[in-house]
Symmetry: C2
């Protein structure tokens, strides 16, 4: 399958490359060519192809092609609880509302609820998700059926999942399907015993694998860890040898400078979730400090029960907006840095090194941003337009692994959206009883 996108503006997100006019050619799941189109003859000579028979040629009409967004932290199945239990603090929200309903969720429920989330990811230009939820097998099924690239991590804790299951998923979900991978992970320090954490660290060491977890989301969580172990959560986990092969922490709202320095040393990414941190009143993450310490910072929506949407445009604006407020400095974190977090850095945090930018031989995970909309005009600065005034409304196309899954407001997936909506409503109505 050969697809040619022409008459486009292109933001490759390769270091130092400005927006340019050009073409992108996709062959099967990969980018065959990304350039101005003026060097076509050289290209054909190099590839010893006389020409390409196009299966599809798409006139971009001056719209922007760029790498798809990496949603580096989510719990897709929580679509169920969107607008179900809002306006509560994190612990009450989790313990009184989320956990009791989640306890009743079946694998099949999560399969359907994940599909609902995937539809929304597509409308937001999200081409890879970093998923932590209850039933990795049924999540994998939903993602492969719909065509979503999905890196999963474990959510092991004292009450559910286990190191044995981590091992099983690690073996079964890696290398199984080009859209899937699995990395070790656990829910959080405060839901895991020290013994369990040690077992997880040993498993990761054995596999030479990175480890992912929720960390320092609330002030209370940090205080609890200090009380239990006399250390902040990051220092405590590091003392157990958790991050010998890197990894990542979600939220990191209350990270100390000491923890940031360790994370830099160990290659631990921080995935910031500003929408969720606002809505649950967890605080403002010190993202400026993360950057100053040289950490790899990615962005995630968190689950739709705490956000409540899966909208990378909102998250991107919040990353810079909240940094500006926290520092009381309007120059904090510029738009291009935020776009980097949402693409290149996200890919890095998720161990997806081959889809962070648009370049020859990279995976064709690409979106088209509609510049023919009033919020994208005038074209003073396209990166700033996307971060400061962009919205889901501007996502004209979402392509994952060379397949167009969303185009002009229509989903190109096997399921009918209405069937997915009906299923989600059926599930919540059943579980509420």
């Amino acid at each position: 399958m050969n697809i040619r996108f022409y008459n486009a503006l292109i933001l490759t997100m390769e270091e130092g490359v400005p927006v340019f006019d050009g073409e992108v050619w996709v062959r099967d799941e990969k980018l065959l060519y990304v350039g101005s189109g003026k060097d076509k003859d050289d290209f054909f000579r190099e590839f010893a192809e006389p020409c390409i028979i196009w299966d599809e040629e798409i006139d971009c009409r001056g719209n922007l092609l760029m790498p798809g967004f990496k949603n580096a932290h989510t719990h897709s199945g929580m679509t169920l609880l969107r607008s179900y239990a809002d306006d509560l603090p994190l612990h009450a929200w989790l313990n009184e509302q989320v956990f009791p309903i989640e306890a009743k969720l079946s694998k099949e429920d999560i399969y359907h609820l994940t599909k609902l989330a995937i539809l929304e990811y597509l409308t937001s230009g999200i081409t890879s998700i970093f998923e932590m939820y209850l039933t990795p097998e049924s999540i994998a099924e939903a993602c492969t059926e719909m065509g979503m690239r999905c890196v999963q991590t474990g959510g092991v804790n004292n009450f559910s999942q286990s190191v044995e299951l981590l091992e099983k998923w690690y073996e079964e979900l890696n290398g199984k399907h080009p859209l899937l991978s699995f990395l070790p992970g656990f829910h959080a320090e405060y839901t895991c015993s020290k013994e369990l954490l040690k077992k997880i660290a040993a498993f990761a060491k054995e596999k030479k694998a990175p480890v992912y977890t929720h960390l320092s989301e609330t002030e209370a969580e940090v205080a609890g860890c200090k009380e239990r172990y006399g250390m902040t959560p990051g220092m405590f986990l590091d003392s157990l040898g958790m991050f010998e092969y890197g990894g990542g922490v979600y939220h990191g709202v209350w990270l100390t400078l000491e923890e940031m320095k360790i994370f830099k040393q160990k290659g631990v990414s921080v995935i910031t979730n500003p929408g969720s941190n606002m809505k649950l009143a967890s605080g403002i993450a010190p993202v400026e400090s993360f950057l100053e310490e040289g950490l790899n910072v990615a962005v995630g929506t968190d689950g739709p029960a705490s956000n409540n949407c899966l909208d990378m445009f909102r998250e991107m604006f919040l990353v810079t907006g909240l940094a500006k407020l926290k520092r009381m400095d309007a120059s904090a974190i510029d738009a291009l840095e935020v776009l980097k977090m949402a693409t290149v850095n996200g890919a890095k945090a998720m161990m997806l090194e081959d889809n962070g930018t648009l370049a020859r031989d990279k995976l064709a995970d690409m979106i088209m941003i509609d510049l023919h909309m009033p919020n994208m005009q005038p074209l003073n600065n396209i990166a700033k337009n996307i971060v400061y005034s962009g919205s889901k409304q501007n996502v004209k196309m979402t392509m994952i692994h060379g397949k167009i899954l969303y185009l002009d407001g229509k989903f190109c997936v096997p399921d009918k959206p209405e069937d997915i909506y009906r299923k989600a409503n059926e599930i919540i109505n059943r579980l509420k009883q």
Copy 2:
């Protein structure tokens, strides 16, 4: 012209009325009927009409009808400067970037740039704007041509506009056109001499009119006023008799409790602009305190140079999200309260008492929210869905004064969007030189 909307969910925003299934009938610029549709016979009897010949019947397919949003503070013509000069603090941004370019703007430029903003308002379900900018006549022209309801206020300061012009616009723009009105206003305490402020207060008293102004946007502004007059800006203006007939203040980020109490007494609304306050690092307004003091709180996007978008969904999320962070309380300001700010309270702040809710005989300023989108599912709570996960993508229709101006992503306005975009780019390219 008779239009029937059927098969709808309806959120009237009338006090205490929950979402219900029903119909809305529009006759010319007004709502003729808002109800479940079961009492049609009673209706026809009361109106002594045997039946209605419909010019148009719209099947809403279960989508939501609600009052359009009131954008209670904006400077539409600043679309020009979107993404032109970001990442600067307020004073540097105003003095070094905004004012020099604005000084070159012609009436005709502002006419075109306002049209660009109007397109974006329509995509965001905004049906009334509260405008403060340089050339009220050409703004009025753009709004009437495009069909946008526009309340304007003066931006008098030491360098431009005057009380004489306020008087002229007050006479000329009130009662001239059903979409237009004008209320006295000035730029800010810090750009007006005491003498000028006294003249404005005297003018408002003579007309028995409310007065509007930017107030306490930054901490520096408050400190400056205290230095000049030994009082905070709100107390100082009140001491000049500025708010004898009410009015409103934009931003109010640094308002004191004392000022809030005076504003409550005088019927002064506070219009909060969270996106702009974040982006310019001005601070988080104490919106919870405004509500506790019983103030009328409305929401505005501010101009697109400081926000940078004109998106009431983003503003609504930020109102509650920032309140939750400021109080570190996830239960701060619930979704319905935010919707009230964006509709009913906005109308009140703008002296538009007849379009805040959907009810018989009110003006037909109405929007349709697409619930058949993944971010609106499941339907656990529609108000929360709109505020917490809604986006411009969900605006299926925008109707102002009984006219459908935006439907299914298409603009129903006299101008071609591409012409407006081209014009905006021409203007900025000319003025940049």
